[in-house]
Symmetry: C3
Subunit: 162 residues, 3 copies
């Protein structure tokens, strides 16, 4: 029987992507998630297609990507991270709240719209998890570049119910 | 009756700014602070004027701003964050220590003085809260850009007395 | 009597550097480590020579440094951080696990190999502490610049045994 959050994801017509598929030969000696007591730490995630591959387009927002494409990329990061959490936690209803979101935008030198881009992430999380749970502390900042030239990367911390 | 830290702020002749006033139409789906047990997580803050508006000048340190203007911007971030903590905690004397500071400097490509800039933040916090409480772990790093082209953004974690 | 991890470091023929030696006049009002319960927070570390001085070469990976030099710099950051932990904790065997690694690469504008660079850090940590303990959540990202133009900076969180 599916939980409430999974039900909500289905009602919204959203699909969580498969596990991240990296290009052949790429080694990533890391844990996607670490659980310490009721804390859940989540590695940096980029935008993924539903098959788990790195989503296109790649590049800097304000150069290769428009603002709107940046927002859409950030929304895809929210779905990728939710997919990871579902696999690692088993049940998304274990999540009490999103505590901290660090949103990084691969930014053209003169692009200063990191806030609306990372809103693409935050609004998707709030749509799925609700405002009380999804309203995290946040920074939205501009990076010189990101792995594989992904346009957005987000890392997060969540809290589980005891 | 004001607490010890508020007394100290008054003695120093400092003024904590009003809540952040963003330009019209800017949506920020985030929590300025999340409290989890004795942990206090604080969203990224930029420099504010005392009326809560985003402080001038804007731009990159080493380009639009001199080193000294960057230091002053970081000092204003410390006051803005202390103002947020006062409103969210009610009493600044609840703070046991500053645990972690992540200081981000909007940096011209050849600017590598992130340490002295973020010292503007750290020294102001230490002046208000004392060395034992204010001496946090820290990174001071150079960003490609920041929202609204603010020159400095800092996020932090603090610990409350039980 | 040396602990197991220190024994392992000796077996691997590795040497932990002396405390960080900054250029004269540089003030750093921060704590290298903060311990809160079983949490250990660690300030951003750069690559150091064994005498504690900032390691050469300096600059951006993809410009002043090759990919291989970036990987080697990241490996040196792992040794510098392990040295700090040894001094602050007294015994490295107190460490249960590496929980979170935030890996920042001083990146030329078109350099997107942050993953292999920060693998230099992660693989060195895993070699010393083992895979179960050393496999942390991680982000590997590209910065516009870093203090003193160091090529890599990493901050981390660890968990101690109770």
């Amino acid at each position: 029987m599916a939980g409430k959050i999974e039900e909500r994801i289905r009602e919204l017509g959203l699909e969580l992507p498969s596990p991240l598929q990296l290009p052949p030969g790429v080694d990533v000696p890391l844990a996607m998630v670490r659980i310490v007591g009721t804390r859940v730490l989540v590695s940096g995630h980029g935008p993924q297609e539903t098959d788990g591959s790195i989503a296109q387009p790649l590049g800097q927002v304000g150069k290769e990507l428009t603002l709107e494409e940046g927002i859409e990329a950030a929304r895809k990061v929210a779905l990728a991270m939710t997919g990871t959490l579902q696999r690692e936690l088993g049940d998304l209803d274990r999540i009490k709240s999103w505590v901290k979101v660090f949103g990084m935008v691969n930014s053209a030198p003169d692009f200063n719209g990191q806030t609306p881009v990372i809103n693409g992430f935050s609004n998707q999380i709030i749509e799925i998890f609700g405002r009380e749970s999804g309203l995290a502390t946040r920074s939205a900042v501009g990076m010189a570049n990101l792995p594989f030239s992904i346009p957005v990367e987000v890392e997060a911390e969540l809290e589980l119910y005891e």
